[in-house]
């Protein structure tokens, strides 16, 4: 019987959708369809906006729960290679909550605030991905820009701000503009850093890079070749720490990262200060931010 099914699905070319993939939970939230999918030992969060193979937001390996499955999540840890101490961390965009949970363990002193616009995402992170608030982790249900603007008004400061709100098919353009990045800069401590998980292809790459450059000056790109993602690592300092310092820090983190299946030396080799975009590119502002149109160009 099963053989017959495989044959039919081969015939129809839809096997990938039948391949040991179980949908554990689906939910329509205010903003999107969310599902939790189990594939072999991986439990994954999916923001379902298209039918065929929608991208996974977060995955947890049930046989090794601490292992970071996605390389972009690993690359966000580049922040620790650049600045090994952080007391106050702000994470914009929760997903499954893997990043806050990982950072909580890596930095025993740190207080982490996660900001997530969609209450259903937070609920699912708690229910399926072991995301847990406590005296060191809290979650705020709010738009990221609004949170940062309000934080600036109240003179709050963070050592490390992680922008990870760009995973869906629709990019929130007000989290990409020059004005927004200036607000981010306002709530950074003097030697604070930003790591933004953003795009490395389409026209958007140049626009976005030019916008970061205009606010923070030179920054590091942390990226793998031929993937759609890159991490922008920018700092509130005028000058960037040189690569040898980062290499030293990478060595210090080696054992601590092991638990999470991350090779800090591998992250170190993904750092590049190279300006490989058109530096005359226009800048994204609140007045001009057609990012969703640029992304498809």
């Amino acid at each position: 019987m099963f053989n017959l099914m495989i044959r039919i699905c081969l015939l129809l070319g839809v096997c990938s959708t039948l391949q040991a993939k179980d949908i554990i939970h689906t939910e329509k939230s205010l903003y999107r369809n969310i599902s939790v999918v189990k594939e072999d030992s991986l439990l994954c969060l999916v923001f379902e906006t298209r039918k065929d193979n929608p991208p996974y937001q977060t995955c947890v390996d049930e046989t090794d729960k601490k292992r970071l499955v996605f390389s972009y999540t690993k690359l966000v840890l580049s922040g620790l290679l650049y600045k090994p101490e952080a007391d106050h961390i702000l994470v914009i965009g929760l997903g499954g909550g893997t990043l806050p949970m990982t950072l909580k363990e890596l930095l025993p002193e740190a207080k982490i605030t996660s900001v997530e616009i969609d209450p259903s995402v937070t609920k699912i992170a708690r229910q399926y991905f072991d995301y847990q608030e406590d005296d060191r982790i809290d979650t705020v249900t709010q738009d990221g820009r609004l949170f940062i603007k309000r934080a600036a008004l109240n003179n709050k400061q963070y050592d490390w701000i992680i922008l990870d709100a760009f995973n869906g098919d629709y990019i929130p353009e007000h989290l990409m503009t020059q004005e927004f990045l200036q607000e981010v800069k306002q709530v950074l401590t003097d030697d604070g850093i930003v790591t933004a998980n953003t795009f490395s292809e389409s026209k958007l790459y140049a626009y976005e890079s030019a916008t970061y450059q205009s606010v923070f000056g030179d920054f590091y790109n942390v990226k793998r070749r031929n993937t759609g993602n890159r991490i922008v690592l920018a700092t509130n300092n005028k000058s960037l720490k040189p690569l040898p310092v980062i290499k030293q820090n990478a060595e210090k983190w080696q054992t601590a990262f092991d638990v999470f299946g991350v090779d800090s030396d591998w992250i170190y080799h993904r750092f590049t200060p190279e300006k490989d975009w058109d530096e005359n590119s226009e800048i994204l502002t609140d007045q001009y931010a057609p990012v969703n149109l640029l992304k498809n160009d």
């Binding site: 205010l30 616009i117 738009d143 820009r145 001009y288």
Partner: protein, 174 residues
């Protein structure tokens, strides 16, 4: 709106609510105002006033938003107030234009349905074209304020032509 109140669902709710509210009262007032001696001078002035009411949004939009942002913690009421501050008055007066147009164009009761139908057609298809053009292309080519200035200029031009027509072409009633 997004820089101050974000892209949450209630921001969209606020904007749509304020537009609908302003249009509905605009329709009511425009219809009422059209009863007594309608003419192109009054008609044109509706366009001019709409245009002028866009100016605060273009010139002081950010200050208005910042003022509201500092005073209202709750993003729902903040965005509702923000949308009111930006859009309520211009949209109200723009809403008055439609029934006033009906009054000016209707010749007989027999044709009133046809005239009203035609006006609905023009105004709704205009909204559709404006929406698709703006969201597909204009935001890629221009800054938002440039687009608003063009709308402002269009309103002033339409209003002026109606007023000129009243002064020089319309039969004078003594």
């Amino acid at each position: 709106m997004a820089p101050y109140f974000g892209g949450s669902i209630y921001v969209w709710g606020s904007i749509i609510t304020i537009f609908m509210l302003a249009l509905s009262f605009g329709y009511l007032m425009g219809g009422r105002w059209s009863i007594k001696s309608p003419n192109n001078l009054k008609y044109g002035s509706l366009f001019i006033i709409s245009g002028l009411l866009l100016l605060p949004m273009i010139l002081f939009g950010e200050n208005i938003m910042q003022w509201i942002f500092e005073r209202f913690e709750d993003p729902r009421y903040g965005s509702l107030l923000g949308a009111s501050g930006l859009f309520l008055l211009p949209t109200l007066v723009m809403g008055m234009i439609a029934p006033y147009s009906v009054r000016l164009l209707v010749i007989s009761a027999e044709h009133s349905g046809q005239t009203a139908g035609f006006l609905y057609f023009v105004s709704t298809i205009g909204s559709a074209l404006g929406t698709i053009l703006t969201s597909f292309y204009l935001v890629l080519w221009f800054e938002i304020n440039v687009i608003l200035w063009v709308i402002f200029a269009t309103f002033i031009a339409c209003g002026s032509s109606a007023i000129l027509r009243h002064l020089y072409l319309d039969p004078k009633h003594v």
